[in-house]
Symmetry: C2
Subunit: 426 residues, 2 copies
Amino acid sequence: MSKASSTAADFPFKAITGGVTAPRGFRAGAIACGIKDPKKVRLDLALIVSDKKAKTTACFTTNRVKAAPVRVSAIHVKGGDARAIIANSGNANACTGPQGITDAKSMTRAVAEQLGLKMNQVLVNSTGIIGMPMPMDRIIPRSADLVAALSEKGSNKAAMAIMTSDTKAKSYAIEVKCHGHKFRVGGIAKGAGMICPNMATMLAFITTDATVDGSELKRATQAAVEQSFNRITIDGDTSTNDTVIVMSNGASGMPVIKSKAPCTEVFRAALRRVMVELAKMIVRDGERVTRFVEIRVKGARNYKDAKAVAEAVAKSTLVKCSWHGGDPNWGRVMHAVGYASARIREELVDIYFGGLCAAKGGLPTGIPVKELETVTTKPAFTVTVDLNLGEAEYNVYTTDLSKEYVDFNSSEYSAAVHSKRQTGLA
Amino acid sequence: MSKASSTAADFPFKAITGGVTAPRGFRAGAIACGIKDPKKVRLDLALIVSDKKAKTTACFTTNRVKAAPVRVSAIHVKGGDARAIIANSGNANACTGPQGITDAKSMTRAVAEQLGLKMNQVLVNSTGIIGMPMPMDRIIPRSADLVAALSEKGSNKAAMAIMTSDTKAKSYAIEVKCHGHKFRVGGIAKGAGMICPNMATMLAFITTDATVDGSELKRATQAAVEQSFNRITIDGDTSTNDTVIVMSNGASGMPVIKSKAPCTEVFRAALRRVMVELAKMIVRDGERVTRFVEIRVKGARNYKDAKAVAEAVAKSTLVKCSWHGGDPNWGRVMHAVGYASARIREELVDIYFGGLCAAKGGLPTGIPVKELETVTTKPAFTVTVDLNLGEAEYNVYTTDLSKEYVDFNSSEYSAAVHSKRQTGLA
């Protein structure tokens, strides 16, 4: 990570407002259809549109159980020229069988008709309850209203409409200078932390007015996702609906960015920067999270080992509990390092909380617990594990595990959803 | 599992009392040395001895960070004729470097001298706090007292002396008839659920007065461990100290059990039975556990896939939270099935709570939530996942995840251990 962020920090950019509508030539908007909430007071249907031709690519969940919208979007995105994204919250359209596919397609068709696009130029996303039919009678008749809601300042409404258990809308955008040109990259996202009662769903929609060649856009997106959204974990659960979509429309008028163009590296860094910021926002806003922790593993023999160790530490229930208590418990970190599928030598492992070395060569350094606690009782800190076996590094952004998380994911179910399932509301 | 237990249920046995001293020719005992507790009111040092020559085998943790007693016992057990097990609670002797090895060896030497054995006929186990030096001055001078405490009825004291966060001593024994002979198998164990503040440690010591050939004992033990202790998970964390030891002394006078002897299958079933019962006791007594859940996966293409699916479901934080709330949340089960490293087809997956089918072919069956809740609000129930792709099966015993678990593993640390680490008590 240190390498990744230092590169990302080295290019000239400034943070700007506007999310997905910060780049030129994009509009966004949202309406309240009553999917989330029968009183229609909460936005739950969002639309993002490029007014110009666009190149579009996407990454989807690796879960073998895939929601219908993921299946439909995965086919539509193959054309490479999608120009619209429709996304709803309140219903995940997952485990809904052939009817779910039909419904997801209908959503793309309705938007395509309104905008004069082909169906496969529209990508579709859903997040919310699993295993319930989509309330299509509340969605399709509102297509014209949804398109009418589009605006060059509509990003925040779209970000709000995709929220489920998120407590904050997540948005980030930057303006970048490169060889005399300016381009912008902006994005919105919604939370990880599997949502009551069933589904997580990490959704991120990124736009750019840079002019990017289709295959470079794909490469840059895969690389940026690997360094951002693939490095966050709250509860170790991978949703059926996770999707990242990147749309590039060239409205900046700059020369095409392709494999080895002058601005390629800067574009990649910019895209990574936006994704890393959105990914961190997702972690910070995880369900009932009280601490944000970055795990840095270094000195691994190879990338795979570094990743395995970082993920084992980040996913250990016991390690996460210790963070919740502000406990600088290097023993639990050590035991998670030990069961990771990686080559390690116990007598070489160093563990740091922030800048303080708690264990050196597998043994306690004797630094007082009270001193280590000055790091681990903070709302955000870094845990570094140096395996001292090689040069490979990896980092993960994660959280503590709180009583409130358990409470939220066990008891709230009855209040929030039970009634829905029984009344057939959603 | 159904196969395994039906075999185990088919052989003639009766449950008896006596734990590790139920088989003839074994004695056990325990004393309070002040390792756990400076007032010496709690038993914390146990000894189990075979009065006759014995064949002994063991399985140890796969964690690459191994406690000193694990390293020492792994060498001593190679001789195959160990006759004594010394085990302490209160200190894990893990992450203690070369001094830890010296201390573990000293414990075996002290016992060997008292009993007239060779050092490598003594195996050593520790469970408790990690990263603290062993209080050898409280252990070694008590060797004679420890040996004096041995008795043919001492199993329960030994079981109590290895407890850490366990709320109950765990003991099980059976008497088995086979071809006109009777033999006994008995065991004691201590809890999984990583113990405040640092270490779990699943310890199980099994004795039998059957006469078992050394290599058969090894094979039978590995098979039984795979079907019992390797199928339990409370928090998904593997300790640095996990150990299972099996000692056979032939005191029953029956013919030798070897690869294809008349009683081999019965002995294997008996050993498995004892281990499965002890494994279930460990799960039921997991830290702050409120539900005992068996995950049965069937219809997998192969054993590896069946295992991967069962473990993914058993380890999912969200699934475990739903059980805590008594929620028959098949959607969360489905999503965990989807991210397991296994071949699955969503449209073929059936999910059952007890005997009730919640999802068929990946879709909800429409059975009312209230009906499913009659299963999932019980203290113990089974979740069956049928992948409908093949014949392979696997089962795991697991638990819910409670707020109290998180509380116990985050805040109690300060009360229970913090003081120890600062005062250097342990």
